[in-house]
Structures are given as C-alpha cells and as structure tokens.
C-alpha cells in the first residue's frame, strides 16, 4: 500500500528531550509568568546557546547548538502565550486536554460559541470587515477573562480538572479567532 496521506493524531506535541522549558529559563513551574522576566531569561539563554555564537565551530557542533536554540525558541513560544503555557503545564502533569473528556462543556458556553460562529459566518459572507474586527475583539476579551481564572485554577487551588476544562474552552475560542483571522485575510486579498 503506497498511497496517501496521513491521519492526524495529536495536535500538540511537546518535546521533553532537552528538559522542561521552565527549568531552561530558570522559572518556577507555575501558570503566572512575568512577561519581562521570561523575555529576559529567553534572551540570556539564546545569547549562550545560539549557533551564531559558535559560528567558528564546524557543522556538527553547530547542529547541537541549533537543536538547543530550537528548543529555547519553542519554549519561549509555549511559555509566552497563556493557552500553550497552560497546555504545557497539563502536559507536564500527564494530562492531555484533547483526550481528557471527563469534563463536559457548560451549555451556556456552547450556546454562546454557536451564536458567535453564526455571526462570523454571516459577516464573512457579507464581506463585513468591521463586524469581523469587532467579533475578534470580543473573543479576545472573553479569552482574557478566562486566562485570568486559569491562574487561580493552577496556582492558587491546584485544581487541574478545572484548569483542563477551561483550557478546552480557550482552545475553542482560539480556533474561532483563527477562523476570523483567515476570513479577514481572504477578504483583504
């Protein structure tokens, strides 16, 4: 059997081969992260391991530096934004929010998502950029509120079940934001 493509299994794979991202940046393993501290730790790490710092070395050695720099870039990308950071914390705790379906979505959340999705589709069909922009802003606001609650779930109460449920909701919001983004792009082109 030679043909075809693949089915997609796991939407987010974290690589643990070079250690965890929190220790790479010398940060405590928790949800709340000060962006300035993270950024400065990231730049310090890159300054030490970036392959350009080892430019005088042969390719073999630079490849190792490249793997470390890739690791640091991915770590920064994951820890910088709330949802990937939360998912990473769950991953470190051995929980996959995709599969862990012991927490159903609340009905009011689902209802609101359906309404929003309809509004997006309608605006997209009408080519209504302003409405799409507004919806995007609204979604971002919703997400921000939820992200703040995540800090309580993780750091104050250590309630990973509540955190998992919230992360799944945030992933819903994120997907919708992405859809609006690509709709806007299509309309602009």
């Amino acid at each position: 059997m030679r043909t075809a493509a693949l089915s997609f299994v796991n939407p987010m794979n974290f690589s643990d081969a070079l250690g965890d991202y929190f220790s790479l940046f010398g940060l405590p393993r928790r949800y709340a992260v000060d962006p300035a501290t993270l950024e400065s730790a990231y730049l310090d790490v890159q300054a030490k391991i970036h392959p350009d710092r080892y430019a005088h070395l042969p390719e073999n050695e630079r490849r190792i530096a490249m793997q470390w720099a890739s690791h640091a870039n991915e770590g920064y990308r994951v820890l910088r934004r709330p949802v990937p950071r939360a998912r990473y914390l769950l991953h470190l705790a051995g929980i996959d929010p995709q599969i862990e379906s012991n927490t159903a979505m609340p009905a009011d959340f689902l209802m609101r998502q359906m309404l929003l999705r309809e509004a997006v589709e309608e605006a997209e069909q009408d080519g209504d950029v302003a409405t799409l922009d507004n919806l995007l802003r609204e979604l971002r606001r919703d997400a921000r509120t939820m992200e703040q609650s995540l800090a309580d779930d993780f750091d104050a109460r250590g309630d990973l079940i509540a955190a998992t449920a919230r992360v799944r909701q945030l992933m819903f919001l994120e997907r919708l934001q992405e859809e609006i983004g690509s709709a806007l792009e299509t309309l602009e082109n």
Binding site: M1, A5, L6, N13, D52, L57, I64
Partner: protein, 622 residues
C-alpha cells in the same frame, strides 16, 4: 572538520587572525558585495569603479559568459541569450514564470525548476545566478587580496524553501562557502540599528527590483528580534517598468512586438521611471527594429495613476505582518526604506500616509542590505568586533506542513516562528496493514494542498503491519538558521524503527553540484592542484591536533571501543597526510569527521549545558 578547539561563545578560536568574509546582496536588478575592513563596513567597487553590478548574464556561442554592464549593453540586441532578473526564476517552475507574463526567453520545463535555452546550452537559474556570484567573489578576492572564508548571501524574507535552497546552491556553485542566508530586511535592520544604536519596534519596507518584503523587528539590548515578516516574492520595481511599458505600447499601437523590441521598451521605461523620481515629466522614446518610433511624454501624475494598483498591493502584506505581530501602526517607531524602488515618490507618500510618519531613508537604499550582510559575515567568520555583541533572531516567512487525508494541509511550523525551530507532530495510518506512508511536504498558508507550494515527497517504508490507527508516526520538521527545512519521519508505536530524513532539493542535486565543481577542479592546472593538496594537508593537520586535544580533555566521554576506533583513524590520517594524494586525504578527513560526530556532539552538549549553568566555558578547559 569536527572537534575544533572550543572557545568562549562568540569568540574566534584564533582572535588575531582577520578572516576575509563578505556580504552579498544578490538582487533582481543589481548585485553588490561588501566587507568589514578596519572595523568599518564598505561596499567593494568593481574594476570599472561601480559598486552596483547589473544582475545580467549573457551567454555567447563560444561558451564564454558576460556579466554586468557588458551584458546589459546587449540585452536588446541579444535578448534570448541575455538573462535579466534571473532572481524571479529561482526555485520556480515553468507555470510560475509564465504566469508572471515573462515569456522573453526560450524556457524549458524541468523537474523542480525552469531552465532557459541559450546559445550556450540549457541553463538553470542557479547556474545563471552563480555567474553573478562568481564575478562578485573575484571582485572581493582581488580587492581584499586573499581567499574568502565565506559569505553571507541575502534573500528576500518572503522567499520560500525552494528559492532559498536555489540561492544556496548558486553560491556553492560559485565556490562560496555560505555562512548564512540572511533576510534582506533583517540585513538592513542590522546596518541601520547598529549605526543608530536604535531601541524599540521598527519596520523595514523593502521594495527591490523584483521582490517586496515587509518586516517588523524589535531592537532591544543588542538583540534584533524579527516579530513578523510578510511580502510578495513577485512584486518589485520591474512591475512598475512593465506597467509603463504596457501603456507606452498601447499609446503607440505596438502591442505585438518581437522580444528585442519588448526589451528595448522596458529598458527605456526603467529610465523614464527613474527620471520621474526627480522630474515631474519625462519624454519616452524608442526606435523599434522596423524603424517605427515609439514616443510619448509621461507626467509623474500619469505614472502614478498607472501604478496606483501596485502601490496599493504593498499595503496588504504590511497589514498582515502587523496583525501577526499583534501591533498597530502607532506601535512602530520608525519605518526604514530599502531597495531602489523606494526612491519613487508615490511609494514614500504611501508609506508616510499609512504610518503617519516620515519614513527613514538615511542609509543609501541600494547599499544598506549588503552592508548589513557584511557585518554579519564578519561576525560569523569569527572576527567579532567590540561593538558586535549582538544577536539576531529571525523568523520563517511561510508556514510548513504536510498533506493529510482529503488533500488538506496540516501545518507543523507556523509562519513567523523564530528560527531555528524544530516541531514534531504525530500521525497514524488509515488502513489496516498499511506498511508505507507517503509524506508530502508543502509550504504556504492555504488549507488545500493544491494551493500551497510542494516542497518534497517521500515515503516512509517498513512500517510493521498493524490495524489502522495503531501506528504512531512522528514527523519532525527542523528549520535551520538559514530558514531551510529538513524533515524526518519515524514510526514509534511498534518499537520497530522505520525512519527517513529528507531535505527538499530543487533542480540541482548535491551530486550535480559536486560534479560541476569537480569538473572545474579536473581542468585546473598543476598550481591549482598543488594548492588544493596543501589546503587538504593543513586541514588534516588541524583535525589531527583537534582530535588529540579533545581526546586528552574529554576522553572520558567515550567508551573503550569508540576510543580505539578514533585512535586507529587518527593513525591512518597521520600516515596519509605525509603523502601527496589530496583525494585520499580528503576521504580520510571525511571518515574522521563521521567517526567523531557523536564525540563532537557529546562535547558540544557538555559545553552548552555548562554555559546554561552559568559557568564560563574557559573554566571547563574545553
């Protein structure tokens, strides 16, 4: 060569020796080379004193090649054999270049990349570009009085993997060691930022002859961090010439013209365009091959009206990059203009209007990219200056993914990810007993495979027969600091290992390039061969010493068998190095390299872990 002496990060192994390195801006309309001499960057002029080398290559029937001004003089009379704007064909297939309305050559369809039929035979865009690079390399070597350690070659930030790989191949074909492919707007930011000690968020608006790039960068604490980049790999000053040419031909009722005349009209329109950046009106005048005269007066207003669509086209990528960087126009502290085409007043006005501030133009837009490349080349060659304690973090311009069921794209690396980057994703089989899996790598933002650029197809074989969905196939994308991709796939579910690693390649294979280089070597005279032998001997000697000292310091990282194998190889290399067979020495060197790969990796890993732990590398006696 593996196992060179390790040194403090950022320092050269031999700090007092200045190694010759250059930055090359390989442009659509012209190319130039710059270097850092006596701590200052400068562009190197050619023999005829000009810094800008027209990116024009002419093939003659006797097999000789003309490059630059000499070739430019024949572009109208010998248009089929005089290749202009070859950059537009790099990494592109026949369908792409014909869609670009450029039918001025005898194109030949070929696997991966289009070829051009000339009087001297069929040429790939890689070979044509290599001719330009060879001239710049010779220029640099004669001006600097020595052989180059390497070069940084700039590419449009929006170039995809195929276009980048083609550029790197061209450099190798020209005998250049590529220290880095550097994005043009990023190069400009380095030149500009280091010169002005800038901090904050800046944008670079780079409209060249054939490509448009827009990048947003954050400059802080000596780090140039590209936040987002966007652009159009087929939009540039050339298109403004084309728009004017179309109009001029309509005016004169000359829609159907032979290639020579089309080229003559284009050359004249470029001149008129440039004149209109200074004057409010200009006379266009072309004498056609049948004796007809094409004449018209063009005002700046007319020209602006003809090209308004092109100007508007630049703003879409601008908005996209700002959105990707989560920024508004007010967040941008300044916009640097790069590329000759930004001299057009309508471009400056459009940028000023969009950002609500006057753009920055204090470095010559033609030179700024080469200067930035030279500064980075100097650092990468190991000549770090005191002021060079800076680091560059660039991004990949277009998402990379693979084809999944139904012709859909699953993105693995998303656009604007900081490079280098490695990402893995797991996939599974969809039929019972499936033992092979086709993996199709694509680049682009669209959801359907057919709307993205196909980079590579390969097959993972030897998957043990299992029920559908039971296999776990881990596909890893590694993008290096040049923005070039390699892909590996491995079945992990069964414990039986099936794995493969590919690098997409286009047009020219590694073997073809090696063959072309070897052909040059075989025809070289005795002096050249003597020099090659001595170079191999020096390299072998350096390797022998490096391995010996590595063994003395870090021998404990090896087990007994590994240690013995390395000692044996060391004796063989030492023996061969006393002889005079360059190829044998090279073979032994390569073997030594391969043998010490793991050792080198362990040593480097130790170095990096120590650096992260805050120890000075010096203290480790590596």
């Amino acid at each position: 060569m593996a196992l060179l002496q390790l040194a403090e990060p950022g320092q050269s192994a031999a700090p007092h020796e200045h190694r010759l390195a250059v930055g090359i801006d390989l442009g659509t309309t012209h190319s130039l080379v710059a270097t850092v001499r006596h701590s200052l960057p400068e562009c190197l002029p050619g023999e005829q004193c000009g810094i800008l080398l027209p990116s024009i290559v002419r093939y003659l029937a006797d097999g000789s090649v003309q490059v630059g001004r000499e070739a430019a003089e024949h572009q109208a009379t010998d248009s089929q054999n005089t290749i202009v704007s070859v950059k537009r064909f790099m990494g592109r297939g026949l369908a792409d270049v014909e869609a670009g309305a450029s039918k001025q050559y005898d194109f030949v369809d070929a696997d991966g990349m289009v070829r051009i039929n000339t009087v001297a035979g069929v040429k790939s865009p890689v070979e044509v570009s290599a001719e330009i690079l060879k001239v710049l390399r010779q220029r640099a070597e004669s001006r600097l009085g020595g052989e180059l350690v390497g070069a940084v070659i700039t590419v449009p930030a929006y170039f995809d993997d195929a276009q980048r790989q083609a550029t790197k191949d061209a450099a190798r074909l020209a005998g250049l060691n590529v220290l880095r492919l550097l994005n043009e707007p990023t190069a400009a930011a380095i030149a500009y930022g280091l010169d002005n000690e800038t901090e904050g968020t800046y944008a670079v608006f780079d409209l060249g002859g054939g490509t448009f790039d827009f990048s947003v960068l954050k400059l802080s604490r000596g780090v140039f961090e590209v936040l987002a980049t966007s652009g159009d790999a087929a939009l540039g000053g050339d298109d403004f010439d084309q728009a004017l040419a179309m109009w001029l031909r309509e005016q004169g009722g000359a829609s159907d013209l032979p290639p020579e005349d089309s080229r003559a009209v284009l050359v004249e329109c470029r001149r008129v365009k440039e004149a209109l950046s200074r004057a409010s009106a200009e006379q266009a005048h072309v004498t056609l091959s049948d004796g007809r005269e094409l004449c018209a007066s063009v005002t700046r207003e007319q020209f602006e009206a003809l090209t308004a669509k092109l100007v508007a086209k630049t703003l879409t990528p601008v908005r996209k990059a700002l959105r990707d960087a989560h920024l508004d126009v007010e967040d941008v502290k300044g916009v640097v203009l790069v590329g000759g085409a930004t001299r057009m007043p309508q471009i400056r006005a459009a940028v000023e209007q969009h950002f609500g501030r006057e753009p920055l133009t204090d470095i010559d837009p033609d030179k700024v990219v080469a200067i930035g490349a030279a500064i980075q080349a100097n650092v990468l060659a190991g000549n770090r200056r005191d002021e060079d304690d800076w680091l560059l973090l660039d991004v990949i311009p277009l998402s990379l993914g693979i084809e999944t069921m139904g012709g859909l794209v699953e993105k693995i690396v998303t656009r604007n990810s900081t490079i280098p980057t490695a990402k893995a994703q797991e996939f599974t089989t969809y039929k019972d007993g499936q033992t092979a899996m086709a993996i199709h790598v694509v680049q682009g933002e669209r959801e359907l495979v057919r709307d993205c650029r196909s980079l590579a197809r390969f097959e993972l074989r030897g998957i043990p027969p299992m029920a559908a969905g039971a296999a776990r196939i881990r596909v890893t994308f590694q993008v290096d600091a040049d923005g070039l991709l390699s892909v590996s796939a491995r079945e992990t579910g069964s414990g039986v290992e099936a794995s493969i690693t590919v690098k997409p390649s286009y047009g020219l294979s590694d073997d073809e390039i090696a063959g072309m280089l070897r052909a040059g070597f075989d025809h070289a005279d005795a002096d050249m061969r003597m020099r090659a032998l001595r170079e191999q001997q020096v390299e072998a000697q350096r390797m022998i010493e490096a391995v010996q000292s590595a063994l003395a310091v870090d021998g404990d990282l090896l087990d007994a068998a590994e240690c013995q194998a390395i000692h044996a190889a060391l004796n063989e290399l030492t023996a061969l190095n006393a002889g005079d067979d360059a190829r044998q020495i090279k073979t032994a060197l390569d073997a030594m390299n391969k043998l010490t790969e793991t050792f080198a990796a362990r040593r480097m890993d130790k170095t990096i872990r120590a650096a992260l732990a805050g120890q000075k590398v010096d203290d480790l006696k590596v």
